[in-house]
């Protein structure tokens, strides 16, 4: 009995010894900054000022009267609604196809996964060229008689263009998650279904979809968070323009903090964003639990 508890203590000691270093890194680069941003969101924090003004909740009051903030919120919500369902369905579909015994399977798997491992800056720059007025997309559409459109400077298409890029880059990434999930489904289920005379489509909807539900949950949460935080593509492709048509919430946080040097206001917007993501995740967890069975 005694021996046992000392082992436990010893185990704990070593566990924390090994954890100390990563925890310290996380503390320095993640936890402390998060807490600190909470603090500065109550200040009119200016980098070069010798003294910081305490504002109380004034930053938060300003946010709720800020037109651009609402626009950014609307853009982010539109972006998420557009990207998450399509991305998830596409990833599941791709994974389903890639899980069949088709020729060149490895090639297709690699091809679909490549965008996910390519730097988002690189893919963004490539897509800037594709979307430009005399670019690839317009030449293809031109064959079918559509007039040329400048996708990224037209306020009606700029956000959709970035959404399409994001769907393309991340579907492959989530496809891998789904593939792992698919391979965990016991083959006996499909065999039983075949014996009962189920078609491929029926198998997909009644076996595959319910069985990968935990993976779907993971994918939806991750892509929701990813969409709420979309930044790099906006930064590279459109700078939030034209006329704020692609200003997303995280981009607006960045603009306030590092373009306008209003760090306090930027931190306050970041906290509102974090709050929204948390609420959405909680709602999702409540109404779409990962494992209802």
């Amino acid at each position: 009995m005694k021996r046992n508890s000392s082992t436990k203590k010893e185990q704990q000691f070593w566990a924390y010894t090994f954890l100390f270093f990563p925890l310290m890194l996380l503390a320095i680069f993640v936890f402390i900054p998060i807490l600190f941003s909470l603090v500065i969101s109550f200040f009119d924090w200016e980098l070069m000022a010798s003294q910081q003004n305490f504002l109380g909740i004034n930053n938060f009051i300003e946010i709720f009267g800020d037109k651009i903030f609402y626009k950014a919120m609307l853009n982010t919500v539109l972006y998420t609604i557009g990207v998450v369902p399509i991305q998830t369905m596409l990833a599941l579909f791709l994974a389903f196809v890639m899980n069949q015994k088709i020729r060149g399977r490895t090639f297709f798997r690699t091809a679909f996964y490549i965008p996910a491992v390519t730097s988002s800056v690189v893919t963004s720059i490539i897509f800037v060229a594709i979307y430009s007025k005399e670019g690839l997309l317009n030449s293809i559409l031109g064959i079918f008689g559509f007039a040329a459109n400048d996708w990224l400077t037209n306020p009606h298409t700029a956000l959709i263009s970035i959404m399409m890029l994001n769907i393309w880059t991340t579907s492959g990434y989530f496809m891998v998650s789904f593939l792992a999930g698919l391979q965990n489904i016991p083959n006996s289920l499909y065999e039983a279904a075949k014996l009962e005379g189920a078609t491929k489509r029926q198998q997909f909807w009644h076996i595959t979809v319910p069985m990968v539900r935990p993976v779907t949950y993971f994918v939806v949460v991750m892509s929701l968070i990813g969409c709420f935080q979309v930044f790099d593509q906006v930064f590279v492709m459109s700078d939030g323009g034209p006329n704020n048509a692609t200003t997303t919430m995280s981009y607006y946080v960045y603009q306030n903090a590092f373009r306008y040097f209003r760090l306090g206001y930027g931190a306050a917007t970041a906290i509102v964003l974090a709050g929204i993501i948390m609420i959405v995740t909680v709602i999702q967890k409540k109404y779409f639990p990962p494992n209802p069975y």
């Binding site: 070069m48 007025k133 306020p155 603009q255 373009r259």
Partner: protein, 403 residues
């Protein structure tokens, strides 16, 4: 991590040495070579001083502000006139008046006053302008000749008339290949027109003057060139900037500065061009850009810093710096010595000094995003100009920098 903290400690120790740290951005390899040779000249003349050059490759102003905020700024660094007001409002830069007064060989009156003013607040000089550039008109002489025009446009009417003549469908496919001029939805390109029309961005007391007939007329004229299809914008022809549109012969005229000259000589060698003053509106006007060498208030090496600073902006240093013509000298004596006032190309830059203004806005940096969005709304969405101007003023009012 260990290496990182060691580097951190090492950098703290290094600061205590007698090394002057000097930071800048670098827009081209030729600028890098120039900086190296300038520092080399300084080292030769004053071997007792050690200078360490630390390049800041991107996000320059963000980085400098962070360094000033964390007390780790280099002793000498660049500040753009555009962002100077947001530095001058805090007590972070070293006023240089006492050094200027002590140093008899420096001769502060040799500088063109408007460039010095860009870094002066309440009589205190916080930066010495190292050089300047300004917007002039570049025009393609081949296209002008083909259209039967000999001289560059002198006023707004001629600019419009010539642009119309120069806009052509060269291959007869029903689409325009060659535009008269290339513009862009950006406030810096608009401002010369506003100044030419006797307008301004803000008045002497700092109140916004966007919603005035002068400003509105200028914007309507500028946008009208595009609306009437005699001007193009870079995104319409899938290019990155107006200079590229001119260089690839899709437009006969472009408004640009001295920085475009080396590009024309290296990259667009087949373009025959000439330089001219911007066309006159109600008056001659253009905007000038200048960059200063400044120094932080927190500095243990003030005397040494002045030695470097005064060399870089002194008659000798400035001559080295501006001798290749990538930027124009801010000292009258250097301009005279280098004979830029009579130079066939540079005389238009030097001559613009008489009516060029430095464009500075005393509002939080967000003013730029607001104007940029408004310009985009006008160009891309055909937004109503008077209404946009009013909206801009309303959105910007609360951003005014408190004195």
């Amino acid at each position: 991590m260990l290496a990182f903290s060691l580097a951190l400690i090492a950098s703290c120790i290094r600061d205590k040495e007698n090394t002057i740290r000097f930071s800048s951005w670098q827009s081209s390899p030729s600028e890098k070579r120039l900086t190296d040779s300038l520092l080399h000249c300084f080292a030769k003349k004053y071997p007792e001083y050690k200078v360490k050059f630390e390049l800041i490759p991107g996000n320059y102003s963000e980085k400098i502000q962070l360094m000033l905020g964390t007390h780790s700024a280099p002793q000498v660094f660049y500040i753009k006139d555009f962002v100077a007001p947001s530095y001058l409002r805090y007590d972070v830069l070293q006023p240089l008046n006492e050094y200027i007064d002590k140093d008899t060989s420096f001769d502060i009156d040799d500088f063109y006053p408007q460039f010095l003013d860009a870094f002066t607040k309440n009589g205190k000089i916080y930066g010495i302008p190292k050089d300047f550039g300004c917007f002039v008109l570049f025009y393609n002489t081949d296209m002008f000749k083909a259209a039967g025009i000999n001289d560059p446009p002198k006023d707004w009417e001629e600019l419009e008339e010539f642009s119309r003549k120069l806009t052509k469908d060269t291959n007869g496919d029903g689409k325009i290949e060659q535009y008269g001029i290339v513009v862009e939805p950006s406030i810096d390109k608009l401002m010369p027109f506003v100044f030419q029309n006797m307008g301004s961005f803000q008045d002497k007391d700092g109140n916004l003057t966007l919603n005035t007939p002068e400003f509105q007329e200028a914007l309507e004229y500028y946008y009208g060139l595009y609306k009437n299809n005699i001007a193009t914008i870079p995104t319409d022809v899938s290019m990155n900037n107006t200079e590229e549109v001119f260089g690839r012969k899709r437009a006969a005229m472009v408004i640009s500065g001295g920085w475009f000259v080396p590009q024309l000589k290296d990259q667009y060698t087949d373009v025959n061009y000439k330089v001219a003053f911007l066309p006159k509106g109600k008056q001659m006007a253009t905007i000038a850009f200048t960059v200063s060498y400044s120094s932080p208030k927190e500095n243990l090496l003030k005397e040494e810093t002045w030695k470097l600073l005064s060399y870089l902006t002194g008659k000798e240093g400035m001559k080295v710096w501006t001798s290749t013509g990538i930027a124009m000298p801010t000292r009258k004596s250097v301009a005279a010595q280098l004979d830029y006032i009579k130079h066939p190309e540079y005389k238009y830059f030097m001559g613009s000094v008489d009516f060029a203004r430095v464009f500075q806005v005393e509002y939080n940096e967000r003013w730029y995003s607001i104007t940029q969005s408004a310009m985009q709304a006008i160009f891309y969405e055909k937004a109503d100009i008077p209404q946009k101007l009013k909206e801009m003023e309303d959105d910007m009012k609360s951003l005014r920098i408190k004195k």
